[in-house]
Symmetry: C2
Subunit: 342 residues, 2 copies
Amino acid sequence: MTDRITLKEVADAAGVHMSTASRALNEQTRDVVNAETVARVLKAARRLGYTPNPLARGLRTNRTMTVGMIIPDIENPLFGPIIAGAAARLGSDGYSLLIADADLKDQASVARVIETLIDRRSDGLILATSARSDPTVAELANRNVAAVLVNRTADASPLPSIVGDDHEGIGLVVQHLVDMGHTEIGHISGPQTMSTGHGRYQAFLSWTQSLGVEVAPTAIEEAAWYRVEAGLHATSALLERRPDITAIVCANDLLAMGAYRAVRQKGLRVGADVAITGYNDTPLLDLLEPPLTSVRVPYRQMGSEAAGLLISMLSSDNGSGSPVSLRLTPTLSVRGSSGPHS
Amino acid sequence: MTDRITLKEVADAAGVHMSTASRALNEQTRDVVNAETVARVLKAARRLGYTPNPLARGLRTNRTMTVGMIIPDIENPLFGPIIAGAAARLGSDGYSLLIADADLKDQASVARVIETLIDRRSDGLILATSARSDPTVAELANRNVAAVLVNRTADASPLPSIVGDDHEGIGLVVQHLVDMGHTEIGHISGPQTMSTGHGRYQAFLSWTQSLGVEVAPTAIEEAAWYRVEAGLHATSALLERRPDITAIVCANDLLAMGAYRAVRQKGLRVGADVAITGYNDTPLLDLLEPPLTSVRVPYRQMGSEAAGLLISMLSSDNGSGSPVSLRLTPTLSVRGSSGPHS
DNA sequence: GCGGATGATACAATCGATTGCTGTCGGCTG
DNA sequence: CAGCCGACAGCAATCGATTGTATCATCCGC
């Protein structure tokens, strides 16, 4: 590639020593250098188009200004906004984002990817991978790696996390369905091994109870994965068992898609006969017929907050001041799939 | 973070000099070191858990084993598979992926992001951003930066590119519609400033002509952006002008979504009255009613091939052997939105 | 038994920055 | 006028690897 200007060349051009040039260029140490000299160095640097070599700097300072991010399944559209939000926030603070895509089902792959990121001397990590109980999370905390969980959290996690408020989100849904006159409400839950699946399930139980809606165990079915097929399967089973159900709260939009199919296979109409709600408000799904009522989570903000939190952890000189986890408030996008009880 | 083992420590543990340890650890130079010594060093390295410091290595060798990727709009689900494919291929060759998300509409932002990636001493770049005529592409080539274009290409690009074969893809669509008996076929084209928009438009003209389908200029409408609203707008205008049209080839799935709406606003049925086809075969859109007929492009492979191409450019000792651009063959996913002419 | 080839390892320069320490110079104080 | 201080800039070590060259022992043939 292009030949690059080094600090030495800038220093020579400005007629000073490397070390002086270095101090003049560095905000922190600029004040120990004579103002005129600073100006001279800055001008020379600009004229020559100097950019510091991050490798040399990193080698010396032991900071790479790089943050690693681990995504379980980058093809999931969910992660686009999270990455974008994080990248923007990091970029404005001079950090770059190293992306690694790990297969969540393959524990070893996750560990390997994390190792790669650490070996590369990332200053910190953003993890979108963690299952509810994940040994690697604890290990990271032990190894004293700066890391933040995003979207998902681990049980009693030693790491700070930025997640959506699932309790709040499910509350919006249940409240909405109750308002629409539904009393027989079912739930297609996500995998209970994941924090989102578990949290939304708990929230469903809690809200129905506090709103006085009776929910028998038969009204709940767990989907094995967040997949359309799993949703179809689970919903079929649910409707078979409980034909009286008029509303189904799905833990995720993909499950809701499966529910659409199951409802139709039973010869029922989505929205009119059976109300269906999703979670995530996946783009494009408002184009369905009927459009899906879903909980919108501020994913972009989530990424941004996670990055911000990590940055503050990295720049707090003392390791203390335990960083605070954040729980972002979702909103409900009401659409045609959740009609009133007929 | 954790204290790290250095080469010196490994060397001491093995009772040799740093340089010997270095050569023993390095595949390339291993053969100049006595086999027993190699074994001893390797064992020591493994025992201590040694991982080389990529900064020190990079500083010396001037290679970071890092590839930068520029994405115009990471929230577009299109890019997920491309990133995943590239990341996988790069990872298996020891490279990591630095992701930068640039706002395509903001030329300065693209340039800034590229600069960042270069300043970070990325070994090479994968660009998904380029418009048809993009000054930065030419500049990169001038600066002798190793770079590959993916998904989109620039006119007469000096850089190799991996793209889908739009001519072929549109051919599949047009052939299919002709087979279904359509003779009045319209086209909602993408922005002509982008290679995909332009290429698919040209392909449409070419295929209709060669298949003997008459296409008046009134049967073509350009959408300003790849957005649902733009598709709605363009399709409305098209149908207003040409109510006789029975099939619409859209340059992109989002435009097709807009077309769905426009058709319905006219009181017509998608699939039965007006056939609609998309491009990209975006996940989830097969869940629409009717499900969207679309051209499937092997995006994951695209990312993988782009990474492979870049790697070969980086490792070819001579800069010659001009790397070959690739054009990947798409397939057609026929679904309900493209019914026969009634 | 000696010059020279060979194989194995050690030495030291180098990559490009940061930073603690030293040196210099002018001015101020006692 | 000696001594000291402060402001400024240069010196050189350092980060952790890679790599060209030097060293050294061994062994070969003559």
